[in-house]
């Protein structure tokens, strides 16, 4: 476990850098988390995915996989990788302050 500080608020992250408490997340934190991962600017397209991921988590208790994102977010898988080159499901989950999406069993 580590702590990080975004917009002056201390938050707890797990070993892989995901929020341990998703309710500690604020929209203003997103650009800073993104920058740490090499995404310098969050465009409207990024935000569409981040909000989608966050809403889905709040509804279902889990983050969506890339395949789910490609089918339901309105952004195609190819574009998802353009926006989040190191893996859309994981990167969007980190930026949206939710736990790591788990593969199914």
């Amino acid at each position: 476990m580590t702590t990080a500080s975004y917009v002056g608020i201390e938050v707890e992250l797990n070993d892989e850098g995901f929020f341990t408490d998703p309710s500690a997340w604020r929209e203003e934190m997103a650009p800073m988390i993104a920058k740490e991962m090499g995404i310098d600017e969050l465009t409207d397209e990024h935000w569409r995915v981040i909000r989608f991921v966050r809403d889905r988590y709040l509804q279902t208790g889990g983050g969506p996989s890339v395949r789910v994102l490609g089918k339901t977010s309105g952004v195609e898988v190819k574009d998802l990788y353009r926006l989040f080159p190191k893996g859309p499901a994981k990167q969007a989950a980190k930026i949206a302050g939710i736990p790591k999406p788990v593969g199914c069993i």
Partner: protein
């Protein structure tokens, strides 16, 4: 005088129809519907590519597996109207129901991956998840002496998630037996960040790949298959060359679910209450087996453990009683590891696969290769046709996961470093 329709007469549909036959009143009608009359023992598909199971021995007529109390209709379901409680069939009149049990399973979708169905399909690229694919792969492996074999899970969820790993172990044993193992490079390519989803198990299975000299490539999301250069290409631009690709394409629910408004999710799996197995769509629709969206393995053993709860809840519904919420996600799988050995894993929603003994402190070793477990895996075929499908309970093995015998505080034995991963590229 109620009508219960079971949609799909594969593993789950057959066992639930046979259980209902024993428990419903003689005045009630039980109908089972499937699109063909050939029941395939899917666990046998794993052995077909190695010539260890004969395709013709893996299928039996569907109707013969059902109790005489069940009316079998061979027809393709087109859609379900959940408001009008009616099932629509191809070329037959619709059937109204009081209760529907959906057991239509999951299928591989080859169209979702760009280029997969191309000139190399069933020549250089195969899946052993269908009888046609497993048989074509058998013929290709028989003449293969050297080169690269790549086993790739394209995306999750898939049925029997350990089967692709078992395939790697068996392919290793197959070529070592022929003394050509040093000429064959085997690579396992997965979208997950390790060999498997559950940590303890993932670490043990990862070591087993390592011990067998199987390369592990993780976090690889296959975007396309290119037969011009025989390579798998990931969405983030990585490539894996192959001479033979053994692919496990993404899965989806039955087609009619996509044509039934409000029934399924984006993959055609049906939103289901995890403990009662009542659908979230309507209280007179129950879901069993691979067709659900619950976070349990898509496996025949799971369908077996679900049978009791589904059957009880159908009865509760007909008597206007509250549902029972007793399904715990129990799964129990043998993992064939080659050279006549196998491992056993036993887990549920809350408990990941752990080492120990099954079902009690004395019993078969868990998460450990042994001869006994290999015999268990082979015996499973007999148990499948004679106990599981008949809707009988297996002695000593209850629906709920046994806790005694498991070592609860075990740390992973050995960590494996993936050969190639997201971060390193």
């Amino acid at each position: 005088m109620s009508t219960v329709i079971v949609i799909g007469a594969g593993t789950a549909g057959t066992l639930v129809a046979n259980r209902l036959a024993k428990q419903l009143s003689p005045n009630d009608t039980i109908i089972a519907i499937d699109q063909d009359n050939s029941h395939l023992y899917q666990p046998g598909l794993l052995f077909v590519p190695f010539g260890k199971a004969k395709p013709s021995k893996l299928t039996r007529p569907r109707a013969a597996q059902l109790s005489r109390r069940v009316t079998y209709i061979q027809a393709s379901v087109e859609s379900i109207d959940t408001k009008a409680n009616t099932v629509f069939l191809k070329d037959r009149s619709p059937i109204p129901y009081d209760v529907a049990v959906i057991a239509s399973g999951s299928r591989v979708v080859t169209e979702e991956t760009e280029g997969l169905i191309g000139e190399g399909w069933l020549k250089d690229a195969f899946t052993f998840y269908t009888l046609e694919g497993a048989t074509a792969l058998r013929d290709r492996l028989a003449n293969f002496t050297s080169g690269r074999i790549v086993v790739n899970v394209v995306d999750m969820p898939i049925k029997c998630p350990v089967a692709p790993l078992e395939f790697c172990f068996l392919v290793d044993a197959f070529f070592s037996d022929r003394s050509t193992r040093d000429k064959v490079k085997i690579t396992y390519v997965t979208p997950l960040d390790g060999a498997f989803t559950k940590p303890v198990c993932s670490s043990i299975l990862g070591s087993m790949l390592n011990d067998r000299n199987v390369e592990l490539i993780t976090e690889f999301n296959t975007g396309s298959v290119d037969y011009a250069s025989n390579t798998l290409v990931s969405y983030d631009g990585r490539t894996v060359p192959f001479d033979i690709a053994v692919l496990i394409p993404p899965h989806a629910g039955a087609e009619f679910i996509f044509k039934s408004p409000g029934l399924g999710d984006e993959f055609g799996f049906i939103p289901t209450e995890p403990k009662s197995l009542v659908s979230k769509v309507a209280s007179n629709i129950f879901v069993i087996g691979d067709a659900t969206d619950i976070p349990a393995s898509k496996a025949g053993s799971v369908a077996h453990f679900e049978g009791e709860v589904v059957c009880n809840n159908v009865l509760h519904y007909l008597k206007s009683e509250p549902f029972e919420e007793t399904f715990d996600g129990h799964a129990n799988c043998f993992i064939e590891s080659g050279h006549k050995k196998a491992m056993l894993i036993d887990f549920n929603y809350e408990t990941e696969p752990l080492p120990g003994k099954f079902p009690l402190r004395i019993g078969a070793p868990l998460l450990k290769e042994s001869r006994i477990n290999h015999l268990g895996k082979l015996a499973f075929a007999w148990v499948y046709w004679h106990v599981l499908l008949k809707g009988r309970d297996i002695p000593l093995i209850g629906s709920q996961m046994p806790k005694s015998g498991k070592q609860f505080s075990t740390k992973p034995v050995r960590e494996v470093t993936p050969t190639q991963s997201q971060e390193s590229h």
